[in-house]
Symmetry: C2
């Protein structure tokens, strides 16, 4: 009878960041197969021996950690669980094709509740032309856990890794930043109000955009298509799930480069700015953009020679450029102050 | 603020079996891509447009439901979590190549505990020549959840679906049946003893085989190799995870046939028989074989013309044959009594 969790000399999970933990756990795993083109360390694994590669990613969502059932409609949850996996497929410049879905639930949930969840899963599959090809349903003692694996396809010469950014490349981001986190802030505020007075009916209409961004993100399959149409292969790419700062640092670390991001270039929606000013005088929209997370936009670099092809796109914003190896990743303010970017850590709860 | 779980007119999860639930949840999902050869309904999805197909499966293990931390060493748990997914790959007559691993844990677990888990994952990867290519680590409020996706390869003309069994085919099973469940019975008994007297040191040596079968099952990659060497393509195949009876019924339902299983042909290990007699006078080893589950052996059918090729194998047992459509799946006892096989249901806990 072993109780490893109570051993002496233990290292707490909090003492390592998420990425240091993954590095530590996966070191020593070799690569045996020629068909394993890329393993751990990017948005997807890349598999296959032919010209056309298969990309695979998986993500687990845990109730109470990744979602709060008090303000997450199950249909939205199903949609979002698929969308965030498809976003990882897009981040390789690939097209999503199939998903597998595993759900564990306690009997707090009815069959109808699960049908709502699957209605959202189906909606996202239909919208992005993805086939549901497997998975399982099992029991959980506490709450709901959803694990989705997504599979996509991409030609070898169009794959975008995190590691390919080169000196002077332009740093681009799709859509806008910080709005999903602003939506979460509104929901958390309403939850507190609701708990104090369950008869209170919140007026959420004027927050429709930020709420939708949080509850029902869209994977940027359209950007992958746009890049193909414009005959651009990004030199590097990652999706923005943990906030811009964290993702910029990933690109720079894996591409062995620095970068400059211009604060005034960051795409921030009006509602994001309004929510910030409502919440606190000290809450800056740019902080939400840098650290908020859950945007599921695409951050990528392109060669300067591709500038003309993309400069008129309303959905892609050029926010900075790559600097040489050894230089830091920084944000330049409108006052020309330079601030080094830092990622927010990952903390286990409980 | 929606609370779908408390809606009126709810259908309880218990009122449907696991498979009826999956059918209900996944109906209405179309198939859009030519590369989706087989979706939901077999041990794996089958993908790809070329001669060589990719097979994919995923499984989620939840603490307190699928494993009990009081008697499951984390290293064994990691090994088993991989093994049961590789078993699904084998059940398509395919060879496992890659896995992705997602783990959610509360901070009850230390980094060292997770390293133990990953040591087991690594051991299984090394033994079966599988590459770890992705996954994530996240937080859970309660306990541990492990979700693994496994990917394998198989030539189109060697794939074994559940649906291919034909009249007069021979029904075969690898290894032995009921031993894993016997191991679980021993562990549950020792847990009760341990809880009553924590200083009690159980003598588990004489149960080594059944304990190993439960704690550290082996996917039958060797049987897939054997079948290739003998130039046998099974007409149908499934892995035995929920007990022989349940799996036989799956094969018969999907192949639209009946079958006769001979009780005296069921491979049952001596320790399995001994555990049964210790537990209760009424516990029959054959019941463990039919309903115990977690054997992770391969159940398959072969053409009678392949009989000579396999009859001398010590690892494959011919336990019956396929009967015509419309006839039931039955077990024939040594006394020549015929018993209709029934699957045990799936029940959500809590």
């Amino acid at each position: 009878m072993e109780h490893l969790e109570y051993q002496e000399g233990r290292t707490e999970l909090e003492s390592l960041g998420e990425f240091a933990l993954i590095d530590r756990l996966t070191e020593g795993f070799g690569r045996r197969h020629r068909s394993t083109v890329k393993g751990v360390g990017d948005d997807c694994a890349v598999l296959g021996t032919g010209k056309r590669k298969t990309v695979v990613t998986t993500d687990m969502l845990v109730e109470g950690v990744h979602f709060d059932m008090t303000y997450t409609p199950l249909r939205h949850l199903g949609y979002k669980a698929v969308a965030i996996n498809l976003s990882d497929i897009c981040a390789m410049n690939a097209t999503p094709k199939q998903i597998l879905v595993s759900v564990a639930v306690s009997n707090r949930f009815s069959v109808e509740a699960l049908e709502e969840l699957y209605a959202g899963i189906r909606l996202c599959c239909e919208r992005y032309e993805v086939d549901l090809v497997g998975g399982d349903t099992s029991t959980s003692r506490v709450g709901m856990v959803i694990s989705i694996t997504a599979i996509g396809e991409v030609e070898s010469d169009r794959i975008a890794y995190r590691s390919g950014a080169r000196l002077h490349d332009l740093l681009c981001v799709s859509g806008d930043l910080g709005s999903a986190y602003s939506g979460l802030l509104v929901l958390e505020r309403e939850k507190v109000t609701f708990q104090a007075n369950p008869n209170f009916q919140p007026d959420l209409e004027s927050y429709d955009y930020v709420l939708e961004r949080y509850l029902k993100p869209e994977p940027r399959v359209d950007i992958v298509k746009l890049l193909a149409e414009k005959e651009i292969v990004p030199t590097s790419m990652i999706d923005v799930s943990d906030g811009l700062a964290s993702e910029v640092l990933h690109l720079c670390r894996q591409s062995k480069c620095g970068c400059e991001v211009y604060e005034e270039r960051l795409p921030i929606d009006y509602q994001t700015t309004r929510v910030c000013s409502e919440m606190s005088q000290n809450m800056l929209p740019v902080s939400n953009a840098l650290n908020g997370g859950e945007d599921y936009e695409l951050l990528f670099t392109i060669s300067q020679s591709d500038y003309e092809k993309i400069k008129d796109s309303t959905e892609v914003h050029i926010i900075g450029h790559i600097t040489e190896e050894g230089s830091p990743a920084v944000m330049v303010t409108p006052q020309n102050t330079t601030i080094e970017l830092r990622a927010q850590g990952w903390k286990p709860v409980e």
